[in-house]
Symmetry: C2
Subunit: 200 residues, 2 copies
């Protein structure tokens, strides 16, 4: 039985929906927004700030700018708020998994927990077209085209992942199981993950 | 029911073993070496040449060299033998899938058949350490360290994939299902693929 399931996901791939259903089926604690609350308590950062920067690079040019721009906002003796958030978030994840069996969504948890034998690491993805339809249905239209919103989110998550883990976000090597939720279907994804979670 | 299963795999990940077992379970034709024979008939290239160049870039510096070196061996009016092999191999794959339900190992078949609704695309991977143990057990020791043999093969397959598909080999986006055969186990991989193959 796996004690910890990490579910990384592309925006709009139904990864969160799948993660929630897996947690329910297994009777595990579910950490997504709950993780934000934990980090908020420890940092005093606003939930919006944590949500925005806990998984996304501030901007594509952030790292280039941050290293050259002397006035960049920094806390904790030279550590950027962005890096500090990582440390707190990482510690929160390490605490949580000691406390109870759980499903954790995103936040590089696959990397943070990669050496645990009792963890199952999952990545959920879907083709651009299916994701675009889904986010318009769930979150409505916006000024930006849905494809551009997705590309922007993908790119910021990938930069965030590369910055903290050195690896490539969505590279199958990082995970035990990667699923295309569009071709396999949400229910079947939940079923497969639950099935694998029950293995030793 | 999926009519075609493509199984891409890292060297030493047991992908071929898994593919063979899936074909047997489903009663599908199995194409791996069989594909080499088909290409041999059409090209007259030796099986060794086809096996070596049908999935692997000739060398890391081949593309840089080929474009600058006037004496590079070329056939078919300016087309390199390497590119020509791709064309014949691609056509062989397109013919095969029309003929019978099948499992095809490697050879960018996921990309070649990416628009077929009746195909399931799978990628099998495993951690370096597990693969190193496996290739030493199956193929014996060689002068080169097993990790170096694996890195060399991985890199040549990735360059080959990039050259012909423009994509990233092993990127989960290319496949419906990616499995770590070491943590999930060979038998369970076979079971999951067979299960998904039976879906519409």
């Amino acid at each position: 039985m796996k004690r910890v399931i990490t579910i990384s996901r592309q925006f709009g791939s139904a990864g969160r929906t799948i993660a929630k259903a897996v947690a329910e089926k297994l009777g595990y604690a579910y950490y997504d927004k709950e993780l934000i609350k934990k980090v908020e308590e420890k940092t005093g950062f606003s939930p919006e700030y944590i949500e925005e920067h806990g998984e996304y690079a501030p901007s594509k040019s952030f790292f280039a700018l941050a290293s050259s721009y002397i006035g960049a906002p920094r806390v904790m003796g030279g550590m950027s708020a962005y890096d500090y958030l990582w440390v707190v978030q990482r510690n929160a994840i390490l605490e949580i998994v000691e406390k109870e069996p759980c499903v954790i969504v995103g936040r590089c948890a696959d990397f943070i927990l990669k050496d645990r034998k009792d963890a199952l690491h999952v990545f959920i993805h879907a083709p651009m077209e299916a994701r675009a339809k889904r986010i318009v249905r769930l979150y409505g239209e916006s000024e930006k085209k849905p494809e551009d919103r997705l590309k922007d989110k993908d790119s910021k998550r990938a930069i965030n992942y590369k910055h903290f883990t050195g690896g490539t976000w969505g590279d199958s090597n990082n995970y035990d199981l990667c699923l295309n939720s569009e071709t396999i279907g949400i229910d079947k994804c939940v079923e497969l993950i639950t099935e694998l979670a029950k293995l030793d």
